[in-house]
Amino acid sequence: MADDNNSKLISTLDRSVHPPHLYPAYTSTVKRAPANALMPVAQKISDLTGPTYGEGTIGELDSDLTKNSVVNGEPVGERIIVVGRVLEESGRPVPNALIEIWQANSTGRYIHNRDQHDAPLDPNFRGAGRCLTNSKGEYRFVTIKPGAYPWRNHENAWRPAHIHLSVFGRNFNSRLVTQMYFPGDPLMALDPIYLGLPEKARPLLISSYAHDITEPEWALGYRFDIVLSGSRQTPFE
């Protein structure tokens, strides 16, 4: 592999769709955003490789958040099924991608010990799960629809309902941490974390209602596809 600053074997983060480091309306970015320009760098084998996951990574109930932390009954709230595919930019599916999720319960409360929101915890809902994509890049979680919750960014600030996702793709450069939102949530238009995204990128973070995934008498379905950077560079026509 030549050490050539111009060679890019895999795609890097597309800065036109990712949020900037500094977005002052989200006040915590002000002291945490690097001020210097990011340095261009030649790709190395360390960028083409990354952690791999397979059999044994995931336990049987890991992807069912309505079952994986039951103590004395079912968690309270609206049961949902979230499905989607993890894809490269070419549309090629990414199998064995590890997806980890964490979220608030139906009242908008995280089980995290630093969450001080005055809303009840649910003894039967921890709000964390993981799964691996199958050979077609598909994943599926069963969970409870998270509630909106207040935060201290500005007066009367509320986060829209969201699920946090962490994804490992084919290499370390495809690493992504993001949030999935729900269609029609009026809080998105007021949320500086969501609004920190370039406009063209925003719709891609909103899941769509999927009636084909909805199971009668049981749970509503949502679809959320994830496209990762770190794709092999192939010429596009």
């Binding site: 084998i45 360390s46 490789t49 930019e89 549309g91 599916p93 995204l197 990128a201």
Partner: protein, 195 residues
């Protein structure tokens, strides 16, 4: 399969937020070695600081590196069959204790498959936190490496900022301990990479 004519838009990053620990931190992921791993054990530790020089106690630091012989256990490495199966290559740590992260690992060799006699060994680092809409990427280099003088990346950085990528060796511990502080902003801001 379905190859697109034009590339799909990447899904954008969003902040990891303050409450990721119970979703992402599983027991021992900051320990990359077991009793069978090849190589001298080292500690890599440091503090993540904000622009006021305050430690950030809700950051997530991830590392990815070669093994002690310069191999990666991943099919893209042509020598991956020689990679140490007892090494974990990937690690993650929170910074709950005063902004301090810590890893127990081995010192990587220069990646063999790069065939680059001028390259210096390094560890890939990613930093996530509340207040970061997107993570920051950097590399940690080791002090007193002769190839630090010839490495293409290190040499492309101004002398005064280059030091932000080179860890400090602290001798007074059981294991060789490399201190690598990460300054997201400020006079000592770490050099972050466009990857």
């Amino acid at each position: 399969m379905t190859e697109q004519k034009t590339p799909l838009l990447q899904t954008s990053s969003q902040t990891v937020g303050p409450f990721f620990h119970y979703g992402l931190i599983f027991g021992e992921e900051h320990i990359l070695v077991n009793e069978h791993t090849l190589g001298q054990r080292i500690i890599i530790t440091g503090t993540v600081f904000d622009g006021d020089g305050e430690p950030i106690p809700d950051a997530l630091v991830e590392i990815w590196q070669a093994d002690v012989n310069g191999y990666f256990d991943h099919p893209e490495d042509p020598n991956h069959d020689k990679a140490d199966k007892h090494f974990k290559y990937f690690g993650r740590s929170d910074t709950v204790k005063n902004g301090v992260y810590s890893f127990k690992t081995v010192k990587p060799a220069v990646a063999t498959c790069n065939n680059d006699t001028q390259e210096a060994p390094y560890v890939c680092v990613r930093v996530f936190s509340r207040g970061m809409l997107i993570h920051a990427v950097t590399r940690m280099y080791f002090p007193n490496e002769k190839n630090n003088e010839t490495d293409v990346l290190l040499n492309s950085i101004d002398a005064n900022r280059k030091q932000t990528l080179i860890a400090r060796l602290v001798e007074n511990n059981d294991l060789p301990t490399y201190h690598f502080d990460i300054h997201l902003q400020g006079a000592e801001e770490t050099v972050f990479l466009d990857l």
